[in-house]
Amino acid sequence: MKKITLISFLIIHITALGQNYLVEYEVLNSNNIIKAELFINDTISLFKIIPNKDAKNFETRIFVKNKIDEKAYFTENIMNVKLFVTDSLNNMRWTLTNDTATILDFSCFSATTTFRGRNYTAFYTQSIQAQDGPWKFGGLPGLILSVKSGDNFIMWKAVKVVSDYSKVPELPIIQKENYISWNDFVLKYRVTIDKFIKMARSNGTLSNEASAKIKLDVVEIFYPELQTGEGIKF
């Protein structure tokens, strides 16, 4: 019933257009630049990565924010296994700060937050009254046009804003899948890594005279032993 409600909700609110925006972002990470698009209206937003022309085996990922039930719906990978995950839209506690900037002719104010292991500084504009932003960011009194991690690991920066955007984006085919919560996703991740480490020794992939380390680098730090320092030794 939940899934039917979600489908119906998304269909109704994508077709019943209010003030829609399309924002193009550049995502900078590890000397790599990727383009992304954020479609926004009053009740939903869709954040989508645009693959580079020469990208091979690129899997399109769409991040959906449902502002009515205040949840995000997206896919995550545990290594090469895809899972459908939900997360709350209210995970970020912002502190408004005094810095200002002009981005794409929009006057912006700054705010900071700590989210899943990283500190972020965002610049938002009150000229666009959408408490939204790229990926999971949102909850500020205006659209987030720029957000950067304090360790320079990643940055999202708006490069174009289109208001009164009338083209309806393609609805992601996600309604048939079962979603797990973010906390369950983290638990599954830990179990997967533990199983991998046990298997590595028990089936002889790692010889008795050898030792190994595994380290994961992703934006959200949810498994500190795996993601900080040298990773997990086994």
Partner: protein, 93 residues
């Protein structure tokens, strides 16, 4: 007295001459040979392999597996184990 001293001198001289040509039967042990080959300590072979993919937020995510092998004779042997481990966690990698 002089004749007795002279007699002893002759006896000593005779004894010295008599024994001069005798072969010495002591066993002389040869000194042990010194091996001058430089022996380097064995260095464990290390190999790291990284898989990279683009995540939903647009960032590059990576997983790195490093293997340290104390009995591998080549780095390739350590890399073979690292590749095998990566394939366990990302089949088809």
């Amino acid at each position: 007295m002089k004749k007795i001293s002279l007699l002893f001198a002759f006896v000593a001289l005779f004894a010295t001459v008599s024994f001069a040509g005798t072969s010495d039967t002591r066993e002389i042990k040869s000194k042990p040979a010194i091996d001058k080959t430089i022996i380097e300590p064995f260095v464990a072979k290390v190999c790291s392999i990284t898989a990279t993919w683009t995540n939903g937020e647009g960032g590059q995510s990576t997983v790195t597996i490093s293997v340290t092998c104390s009995t591998c004779t080549t780095t390739q042997q350590a890399c073979n184990q690292a590749y095998a481990l990566l394939s366990l966690i990302i089949p088809g990698a």
